[in-house]
Amino acid sequence: MYLECRVVDGARELRARGRWCAESATELARVVDEVEPAGPAAVLDVDGIEALDLTGAWFLHHLEQRLTQSGTAFEWRGARREALDFTGALLAHGPAGVPEVAGHRHEEPLGAIGRWTVQRGGQAHDEIDFLGRIVLVIGGAFREPRRLRFKSVVRHVYETGIQAVPIVALIAFLISIIIAYIGAQELRQFGGEVYVVDLVTLSVLRELGVLLTAVIVAGRSGSAFAAEIGVMQLNDEVDALRAIGLNVVEVLVVPRLLGLVIALPLLTVVADAMGLAGGAVMSWLVLDIPFNQFLARMQEAIAPTTFWAGMLKAPVFAFVIAMIGTFRGMQVRESSRELGRLTTVAVVESIFMVLFVDAVFAVIYWELDF
């Protein structure tokens, strides 16, 4: 349809016809590929072309190039068209093709390990540097409290704390119902249904309340911190702050960090309360334990320190989440793909670090018999 081919006296005659335009590029590519680069001579007649644009002209030149490369004597026939000459001039000008980047070299396993180690080392250095800057700003705030930027802190308490109350409350409530339900099933075999109260109160207050809250906050706010600061990086806003002479850690990092350190313990209180409420509702519905009995049993089960054992972890988790989120946001450079990658890294890393720190707490509490 686009290219007719016939053989006259041993020489091939190709007739291009129809619309050689970008809209039919798929067909043009196929037609040009089908021409076999064989035979001593070929003539390309372009008189039959109805419309020709740069894409079509490129395909004609591409055909010429394929044929001449295989040793065929190539000849144009027909009225030269402007687009053809124009494309020819462009292609003739300068080096042919785009310079190839060096392909991926096969990397020795040892080299890969070494590279990874160096990268890790550099990053650990950056993280400690970042921590140091945070400490400097907070230390400086003792002399000059204005540097803490209370307005900004309040905004972050609202965004990371108050707005998260519904989801945290709901999840804490549901989880403790699940625990109470599974616990009741197992403990019923020993006739110890009343220990469901111990199970729920201890697990919610010591571990689950704060841990679930931290995981939810890491997903909500850790990602938000990384994305906000990352977009500011892409828009050169961070550089603008530096150019104005502001301390970026003071303006962007510390308010988020303080906001979260305030908000996460408060959210933990909500989660603890809702968790206990969920346990009480389940005990009443499934085990027929009335509320006053639940309360009495609960007071027996917990030590004065139980609540604080969970609560103490909240600000530490908040610090970890906020630091990782803002650090990853600061690392965003140049492209939107980096932004997505580093936001993901921030969430995964902060959830991992929360669990890791929780394990450290468990060991310390065990040793201290807390």
Binding site: A22, A25, D53, H93, L234, S335
Partner: protein
């Protein structure tokens, strides 16, 4: 003018755009004819970008029609609308290159979406367009963040030209460029427009660009457009237009020699 008789490539009639109480366009009309470079001018907030977004179908107007090649965009859906969108190329004010792709990949993207082509062919076609806009070959493998402002504008133009559209929309193509780069971009645009017989619709603040490249100019004032040939619009008595073209900067840009070439160029195309 003789060209008025020919059917316009872009015809906008009775466009009304409102945001809350703010009326941006109040029955705006605009016609762009084949083969001309049409400049859209207006003060800050006069709705130049909103007009462009309306023509591109990114903004639904409250009233009015947008016709490209005689087909009303506001009535079209699906495949028909896509086929019209392949008939024009667009560059945005800040380039809007995809930051996670190299220049070559940016140029290839429309081709990959529109056609099924082998990698070798894609490389060749992208290379052609990169040469076309005068980017150095080593720019092809770079990411947008590694390019200078002028190169970003050129790369954006290469992407807009990927499917050889007969119609181009440019949003402030020379803003943020130094005078040398801006004037080089003007020359590139004129060269491409003549070689490829493009129709160009261009938003610009750059008086030098207007005098050098535009055949006709449309000024948005009071939510409507006053459009005329370059020599006509300069004599328009509207106070804002007088201020625009005859303010201190306007007088400088219209130095007789330059206005002379701009005027001498325009009738030749009719």
């Amino acid at each position: 003018m003789a060209a008025v008789a020919a059917d316009p490539v872009v015809a906008v009639h009775g466009i009304v755009n409102r945001f809350g109480r703010q009326v941006v366009h109040d029955g705006l009309d605009m016609e762009v004819h084949r083969g001309e470079i049409f400049g859209i001018v207006g003060g800050a907030g006069s709705g130049k970008s909103v007009l462009l977004r309306t023509i591109l179908g990114l903004q639904i107007p409250r009233a009015g029609t947008v016709e490209i090649d005689g087909r009303d965009l506001t009535q079209l859906r699906g495949a028909e609308l896509r086929s019209i969108k392949r008939g024009y190329g667009v560059t945005f004010q800040h380039g809007a290159l995809f930051t996670s792709l190299t220049v070559t990949e940016n140029v290839q993207l429309p081709l990959i979406e529109a056609c099924r082509l082998r990698a070798e062919v894609l490389e060749g076609l992208a290379d052609l367009k990169i040469r076309l806009v005068g980017l150095p070959p080593d720019a092809a493998r770079k990411y947008p963040a590694q390019l200078s402002g002028g190169m970003v504008k050129r790369a954006a133009l290469a992407r807009a030209l990927a499917l050889d559209p007969p119609l181009l929309f440019l949003d402030e193509p020379t803003s943020g460029l130094d005078p040398i780069a801006a004037s080089a971009f003007d020359e590139l645009l004129l060269y491409l427009q003549r070689s490829l017989r493009l129709t160009v619709v261009m938003i610009t603040h750059d008086l030098d660009t207007i005098y050098r490249t535009c055949n006709r100019v449309g000024v948005i004032v009071d939510g409507r457009m006053i459009s005329d040939s370059l020599e006509g619009i300069v004599r328009n008595p509207h106070p804002w237009i007088q201020e625009y073209f005859h303010g201190p900067r306007g007088r400088l840009a219209s130095r007789p020699a330059r206005l002379g070439t701009a005027l001498a160029d325009s009738p030749g195309r009719q």
